[in-house]
Structures are given as structure tokens and as C-alpha cells.
């Protein structure tokens, strides 16, 4: 089989037919994008590696159990699993931090240090968020409208297209350009999002 042109669906079918190699090839095909996303979210290579493994273990389990139906959305599905794993990680971190605060009652300096870091992090984080919100205001009107409708109002792309009187493709294109422009502005300001 010519792996270079095999679609995700073909590789999945091969795997389900007994070709264990096919799943490795499928994972390799998408690993960079998945790993990059996880790494950006957690900002720790070791943690990112763990979450990356958990992501694909979970995915393979679903496939092995016959619960996955490929409809050309494999990468979207994998990224969604990775995203959920990252959210789980942050929730566990938050819970651990709350436990640590109560356990550190005897070490006043330690607790104070921890509390100060948290408050400072929050202040800096909020300042950066304010900067990014301001950048949204600087977007071209069409892009700004899509962003507002998507994030503030929680509208789907279909709804955004209907409200603005354009095709879904146009709405999607404006969203993409909005993100690209925001990314550019963020990099120009050397901001680190957290």
C-alpha cells in the first residue's frame, strides 16, 4: 500500500483489518500538530508528552472497541480529545493547588509566597487579556464582527453567516484571517498568553 496517498480512513480500515503498522502511520501523520497544540497549552514538554500519549491511548481504545466512525474528521477528533485531556490536566492542577494551600498552613512564608505568585500571575494575565481584547477592537470591521459574534455571543458559523448576509465560507474565511491577524499583533507585542 502506498502510504503517502492513503487517506486516514484507509489507514483506519487497514488497522481494523489487522495491520498494526497502519495505526502507527496514522498517529505519525498527525502527531506534530497534536503535540504542538498540547505543548502550547501546558508549556511543559514532559507534561505535554504524557498528555499526548494519553490522547492517543484513548483514541486507539475507542477505535479498537469499534466506537469510532470515520467521516473525514480524524484530525478534528484527535485534537478534540487532546483538548479535553488538557482541560482535565488543568482541573487536576487546580485541585492539587487548593489542597497544597491548606496543607501549607504551618509554613506562613511558603503560603504567602505561593499566594503572592498566584495573585501576581493573575494580575499579569489579566493585563495581557486586556491587551488582547483591545487588539480585537483593532481588527478590520468584518473580522471583528465575526469574532464578537463567535466568542461574545456564542453563535455558530452558520448563524454568523446568516446574520451578516454572507456565505458560510466567507464567514469562516473572515474568522481565519481574524485569528491570523491577532496572532500577528500578539507576536509583534511579544505577549505570552497564559
Amino acid at each position: 500500500m502506498n502510504v503517502q496517498v492513503a487517506s486516514d480512513q484507509n489507514l483506519l480500515n487497514c488497522y481494523l483489518s489487522g495491520d498494526r503498522n497502519a495505526i502507527s502511520q496514522l498517529i505519525d501523520r498527525h502527531s506534530r500538530r497534536v503535540r504542538d497544540y498540547i505543548r502550547m497549552m501546558v508549556k511543559d514538554d514532559d507534561v505535554a508528552d504524557d498528555i499526548f500519549q494519553e490522547t492517543f491511548i484513548k483514541a486507539v481504545r475507542v477505535i479498537d472497541e469499534g466506537r469510532y466512525t470515520d467521516n473525514g474528521r480524524f484530525l478534528s477528533w484527535i485534537l478534540r480529545i487532546a483538548h479535553n485531556q488538557v482541560i482535565d490536566y488543568f482541573r487536576a492542577q487546580k485541585q492539587n493547588r487548593q489542597l497544597n494551600e491548606s496543607e501549607a498552613g504551618y509554613d506562613v512564608l511558603g503560603t504567602l509566597r505561593f499566594a503572592e505568585r498566584t495573585v501576581e500571575d493573575e494580575i499579569v494575565g489579566e493585563q495581557i487579556a486586556d491587551d488582547v481584547r483591545h487588539m480585537v477592537e483593532l481588527l478590520p470591521e468584518e473580522q471583528r464582527t465575526v469574532v464578537m459574534m463567535r466568542y461574545y455571543s456564542g453563535l455558530s458559523f452558520k448563524e454568523i453567516a446568516e446574520h451578516t448576509g454572507v456565505s458560510i465560507n466567507t464567514a469562516l474565511g473572515r474568522m481565519r484571517y481574524a485569528l491570523i491577524n491577532l496572532r500577528k499583533m500578539i507576536k509583534e507585542k511579544n505577549l505570552t498568553l497564559s
Partner: protein
Amino acid sequence: MKELDSENATGSISDDDDLLMREVICGEAELLYLDTYLREILQKR
């Protein structure tokens, strides 16, 4: 997380999310990260 686990389990992803991933994010991790970040900070307002 039950809803998310169910989503993972069946391989389903909403049409809207699929459009986002395929036509907006196009596999670019930075844009996916930015989308997640914006969702967080803009919904907080």
C-alpha cells in the same frame, strides 16, 4: 466532563467544531491555542 467523554467515545464532533478545525484552524496549533484562549478571555467579560 461526561459530555466531553461521550464526544470522545463516539468520535462525534459537532459540525460547527468540525468547520472550525478544518476551515479556520487548518491544523495550525497556534491558531487552535488562540481560539481556546479567546474563548476563555472574551466569554469572561
